[in-house]
């Protein structure tokens, strides 16, 4: 075995990991194995909009770690870095449909979009009302005809929390979809990697970096970024991520934001807080108020070292929904 990981058969990584997740969190979720999907223990909830998200594995705790009260009703993990096929998405959609319709939260990648689309088509045939919100908050990618469009990254976590709270309080499918769209439209992210990651079945680093090089503008699939630069001190790195984020929306003096400093999986917390410190300083200088914060590894790329920063411009409803109780394996407060 050439890959240095705590795994058995590389082909069974997702299956075994999900089994472990199910055993560890039996109070929150149940897991179906054929096809694999993770469902909130008490799903379906009659009259509540169901929320399903999913995508390739390797980004944990996204998405299964967010299944539970006040967030997702189901998560569909694909193979590592590979969007799930329509079957488990369809199965999850059926499992959480409580008659009020189902929202699909889809990160904007060709594969995710196509597979969720097919599943949604099949679900409507079964009479389930499905809406999809496609997250695309990554400013590292130009949103133009010449790309597959911006990727869904850190903002996805915020969309899932806030839409989840809206569904939990009884909002309709239209309302839940609307707030999800609003969060996505007001979120901007950018990430960097100090090291690549290793996909278990590939057995080699996703890209190669010299001792003193880092990748700016990486996504979450271990793919290289837009630009390779020499390593800089943390403050400079934060500034590089924040500048394009701030000018894109734009974020302006007087705005209230949620500041989300996310680890890519392999960076120690101590570093994420050093980055948070600088980000808070920059926002302070610009008169932008940090009303809420999230720091930690929430949307990752296996063992990649690096971070992403997400800014979400908040309105009162978003703050209320952010603060609402949530009870999942990876995000929990209020109960």
């Amino acid at each position: 075995m050439s890959v240095k990981k705590i795994i058995n058969d590389p082909k069974r990584v997702v299956e075994e990991s999900v089994a472990g997740f199910a055993a560890a969190h039996a109070d929150l979720v149940r897991v179906e194995t054929d096809p694999i999907h993770v469902v909130r223990a008490d799903a379906p909830i009659a009259g509540k909009v169901g929320i399903v998200s999913g995508g390739g594995s390797g980004h944990e705790p996204l998405h299964a770690g967010f299944v539970g009260f006040g967030m997702l009703d189901a998560a569909v993990p694909g193979a590592v870095f590979t969007s799930p096929t329509p079957d488990p998405i369809l199965a999850a959609t059926k499992a959480v449909d409580g008659g009020a319709g189902v929202l699909h939260i889809v990160k904007n990648y060709t594969g995710d979009v196509l597979n969720f689309e097919t599943a949604a088509d099949l679900a409507s045939v079964d009479g389930i009302d499905v809406r999809a919100v496609v997250t695309n908050d990554d400013v590292a990618v130009k949103d133009s005809l010449y790309t597959a469009g911006r990727r869904g990254v850190g903002g996805t976590v915020l969309v899932e929390k806030i839409a989840g709270a809206a569904a939990e309080r009884g909002d309709s499918l239209d309302e839940v979809a609307e707030v999800a769209e609003r969060v996505n439209a007001n979120a901007r992210s950018m990430g960097l990697a100090l090291t690549p990651c290793i996909v278990p079945h590939a057995g080699e680093e996703s890209f190669t970096l010299a001792e003193d090089e880092i990748e700016i503008g990486i996504g979450i699939h271990g793919e290289p970024g837009r630009e390779r630069i020499k390593l800089e001190p943390a403050d400079g790195l934060v500034d590089r991520l924040l500048a394009p984020i701030l000018e894109d929306l734009p974020f302006e003096s007087g705005d209230r934001v949620l500041l989300f400093v996310n680890g890519m999986g392999g960076s120690p917390l101590v570093e994420l807080y050093i980055a948070y410190r600088r980000a808070a300083e920059v926002l302070g200088e610009r008169g932008i108020e940090i009303a809420r914060s999230l720091v930690g590894n929430y949307i990752t790329s296996l063992e990649m070292q690096g971070m992403s920063i997400t800014l979400l411009k908040l309105d009162d409803e978003m703050v209320e929904l952010w603060d609402a109780p949530v009870q999942t394996a990876a995000l929990r407060w209020g109960r």
Partner: protein, 215 residues
């Protein structure tokens, strides 16, 4: 001589074999400008097709085989390639209809339908550095060959060799669709993994046709 169910089944077996043989190569190409899973995804998909071939009933047509491939790839490959290849085989199956034997023109029609399915789902244009860049020259070559009176083997041989040229021609391109597009200019200088797998599959089709002609 037309191509029948034997050819279709042989094509699938050969496809599974070449994809498995080139698994690492496809992973490596995808690692360079994507996320390193294309070889794994395709291999998982075709390995899943193999046992299902045994379930084909006596009077199955090439179209039935194509449909079987389509549904299996859709439900096992995932990623971008799963729905794209799935749609390709599905549209090809529709084009093949109930025919028990496919001549050059039928093959050109099937390949055209497959390519159109990929474009319908993926919205890529030629030159975007995707599998479309292997399929479009392949379709053109097969259509021209069939118009010139080529048989099914001739049409597939023309398609395969054009697909290889198309795959090679993706190397200098800057990607505008799929994961490689995130790299911008840095995507140039690498071959598109989906174009490579497309050429492998079309070559397998031609090889199966040659074997069936030789038999």
């Amino acid at each position: 001589m037309g191509l029948d169910i034997t050819w279709a089944v042989d094509w699938v077996r050969r496809s599974a074999q070449v994809v498995s043989d080139h698994r690492i190569e496809l992973i490596t190409l995808d690692r360079e400008i994507g996320d390193g899973d294309h070889g794994e995804n395709m291999d998982r998909g075709f390995q899943a097709v193999l046992p299902k071939l045994d379930d084909l009933h006596a009077g199955s047509t090439p179209g039935d085989v194509l449909k079987l491939v389509a549904t299996t790839l859709i439900s096992t490959v995932g990623g971008a390639a799963g729905p794209l290849y799935g749609t390709a085989y599905l549209k090809a199956a529709v084009a093949a209809g109930d025919s028990v034997s496919l001549d050059g023109e039928a093959i050109a029609g099937i390949l055209t339908a497959a390519r159109d399915g990929i474009v319908l789902r993926g919205k890529a244009e030629p030159g975007d550095k995707t599998m479309v860049d292997a399929w479009t020259p392949a379709v053109d070559a097969a259509t021209a060959a069939a118009a010139d009176g080529a048989d099914a083997l001739g049409a597939l041989e023309a398609a395969a060799s054009a697909a290889w040229e198309g795959a090679a021609a993706t190397e200098p391109l800057v990607a505008r669709k799929g994961r490689a597009s995130y790299l911008g200019e840095r995507s140039a200088g690498h071959r598109d993994p989906g174009a490579e797998s497309s050429a492998l599959l079309l070559q397998a089709a031609a090889d199966a046709a040659a074997a069936s002609a030789g038999a």
